[in-house]
């Protein structure tokens, strides 16, 4: 049978529509200072930072098979580097955010060499040990406030922009910009040759290795890049908070548990999952957070039930039902359909 009428495409009508809607939403969000209040912008800024963390954790766990429960190591490291670079080296805070990313990539190299010796679940706990080492080490640095932490000096905060409003807008745009950059980076990475290798590793390590993919190096690159971007997110988080302490900077609940719940609920191993998960997480948090511990228990229960009953998360349910893909990542076979061609396909 001839295959002339069959085409292999990446995009689909859904992904085209999603791109248009995505661009419109992005434009509306960039213009947020025109329509949103201070509290709303603060909340949205936080949402973008969680979205970035979720996308990065998803890249590691959902695509590279590196399940880390120690990403707070890089969040906290980024935050502390922001403080160190601005206070000791007099660097402008925005430059310090970039610097935090570079330094995190440098420190992630020896860390990866060490924790990659552990497999699977032991890797997960190993990353946690590294985060504890970071926390305890920064608690020993008395010039950064030791165990009780420190605030960003007023002079540095004032040097950033001309006024408080401008500073709040700037940190909002930085958070939005970083979230867009992270999603774009993950998307482009997954579409690249190396991303294809990553998907192959996820589906079957042995088969991928026999096709000549260097598994160790591919995972290593993912780990280091993720560390750098996570540290930049961390720097922005503490640029918003203006205060840092070891317990807040390296909190496993804030920077890893919530992120894992976001990704699991939204759908691990898809780009859409973390976005949906973040929206659901913030909707739940804003309505139920008054309930305190009960809310966290419920969140844990929901994550367990989803992992048991629908391991692909909310987006997995949608995708299964309507065969949607908003980010054109996979390839699909389409036919330039005429009725009899359609018939032929079925006959075959």
């Amino acid at each position: 049978m001839s295959t002339d009428h069959l085409q292999v495409k990446r995009g689909s009508r859904a992904s085209f529509v999603a791109t248009i809607i995505g661009l419109i939403v992005l434009a509306v969000l960039i213009a947020a200072p025109l329509w949103a209040g201070r509290a709303d912008m603060r909340l949205m800024g936080e949402l973008f930072l969680y979205l970035s963390l979720a996308c990065l954790w998803n890249l590691m766990a959902g695509y590279a098979g590196l399940v880390s429960v120690g990403q707070q190591a890089y969040v906290g490291f980024g935050g502390y580097m922001l403080f160190a670079l601005t206070i000791f080296a007099g660097v402008h805070p925005v430059v310090a955010v970039l610097g935090a990313g570079v330094l995190a990539a440098l420190i992630a190299v020896p860390v990866a060499a060490l924790v990659f010796r552990l497999r699977g679940a032991y890797f997960a706990i190993g990353t946690w040990v590294v985060a504890e080492v970071f926390r305890l080490s920064f608690a020993q640095v008395s010039s950064l406030g030791g165990g009780s932490g420190t605030s960003l000096p007023v002079s540095i905060v004032k040097s950033m922009t001309s006024g408080r409003q401008a500073r709040e807008w700037l940190s909002y745009w930085l958070a939005l910009g970083l979230a867009v950059a992270v999603i774009a980076a993950v998307f482009l990475f997954l579409r690249s040759r190396r991303g294809l290798a990553l998907s192959a590793i996820r589906d079957n390590e042995l088969a991928a290795a026999s096709l000549g993919i260097n598994i160790w190096r591919t995972k290593f690159v993912v780990y280091v890049v993720t560390a750098a971007l996570t540290a930049m997110v961390g720097a922005l988080i503490f640029l918003q908070k203006l205060r840092i302490s070891p317990d807040a900077a390296f909190s496993v609940n804030d920077w890893t548990a919530f992120v894992i719940f976001i990704v699991v609920i939204g759908g691990i191993g898809s780009l859409e999952g973390p976005i949906i998960g973040t929206l659901v997480f913030f909707a739940l948090r804003e309505t139920l957070s008054d309930m305190g511990t009960i809310y966290l228990i419920a969140l844990g229960l929901v994550a367990i039930i989803i992992m048991l009953k629908a391991p692909q998360g909310l987006w997995g349910i949608v995708r299964k039902r309507w065969d949607l893909q908003l980010f054109p990542l996979g390839y699909r076979v389409q036919q330039s359909a005429t009725p009899d061609n359609h018939q032929q396909l079925h006959d075959k």
């Binding site: 032991y122 040990v129 305890l136 894992i260 511990t293 009960i294 367990i304 391991p311």
Partner: protein, 287 residues
């Protein structure tokens, strides 16, 4: 003198860490499951012990008679009701489900017992000590160490000399063939988790007698147990005891140099051993 004292105290502390680790090591050996909630289960056992001592007015060590069966039963139900459904080739489900469990236990304890630190009172046992030359050795740490040796020796004997141990080794080697030979692996896994949590109950009560505890300390206990397992080498129970001792000594020596370095010294020793002996000191199986 202080140094010798630090080393002796560290060795005895290692017994407690080996108890944290033994349950973790057991279930990893039998079903390749790493239980992220292990530390929180230790803390849960400590709280159950606390409630038992208050309600029945008994000594904490006697409370073990209540807490051990309770935790073991909970372990069997947990394994058959939840964790068995997560086992398979994919690593993520067991990891994330036990992670969720950890958050649930932590917050349930916060809700039930508040965040205030608690401690179990063991009366004269807490302060009793034996003179040994210039040193004085606490009876409680010594007892903890002896219990650790007994538990690990008992586990070792059970593994190699009983029908249950044979079943554990069989499902560990090959689940499918063990199933064909008439073993019900779901039941065996349930028993392994029950045994693991029974040890956890012992560890939790000894922890609660020794120091203050609150709902947030589970994570660190998991890490200590995990470090002891990796230092000792996967699948080697006596190795786990040695791993616990090395970790304990590293911590007390670190604390002797600078009180702020206690935990850091333990973690750095672990990372150092991971760097030079990635499979631990006495490995018997691969991860």
């Amino acid at each position: 003198m202080n140094w010798i004292n630090a080393i002796v105290q560290g060795i005895l502390l290692g017994g407690l860490y080996a108890l944290f680790a033994a349950g973790l090591s057991l279930i990893f050996g039998v079903m390749r499951l790493v239980n992220i909630a292990h530390g929180d289960l230790i803390v849960l056992a400590a709280y159950l012990g606390l409630s038992t001592t208050i309600m029945l007015g008994v000594h904490p060590l006697l409370a073990m008679l209540v807490v051990i069966p309770l935790m073991a039963l909970g372990g069997y139900v947990l394994q058959r009701g939840v964790l068995n459904h997560t086992l398979g080739d994919d690593l993520l489900p067991p990891l994330l489900v036990t992670f969720g469990l950890s958050v649930i236990i932590q917050n349930a304890l916060l809700e039930g017992y508040t965040a205030d630190p608690q401690k179990m009172s063991a009366g004269a046992l807490e302060t009793a000590s034996l003179p040994l030359g210039d040193l004085s050795i606490g009876v409680l740490p010594l007892l903890t160490f002896a219990i650790a040796v007994l538990v690990i020796g008992g586990l070792h004997w059970m593994f190699y000399h009983t029908a249950l141990g044979r079943a554990f080794r069989a499902v560990s080697d090959n689940q499918d063939i063990a199933q064909l030979m008439g073993l019900n692996r779901r039941h065996i896994f349930g028993l392994a988790m029950a045994l693991s949590l029974a040890i956890t109950a012992v560890a939790g009560i000894l922890l609660g007698v020794r120091t203050n505890f609150d709902p947030s300390i589970g994570g660190a206990r998991l890490i200590f147990g995990f470090e002891a397992v990796i230092i000792g080498g996967l699948g080697n129970l006596w190795g786990t005891l040695v791993g616990g001792v090395i970790l304990g000594v590293a911590q007390t020596i670190g604390a002797q140099i600078n009180p702020g370095w206690q935990l850091l010294a333990g973690h750095i020793t672990f990372l150092f051993i991971l760097a030079v002996r990635p499979r631990g000191l006495f490995p018997r199986m691969t991860g």
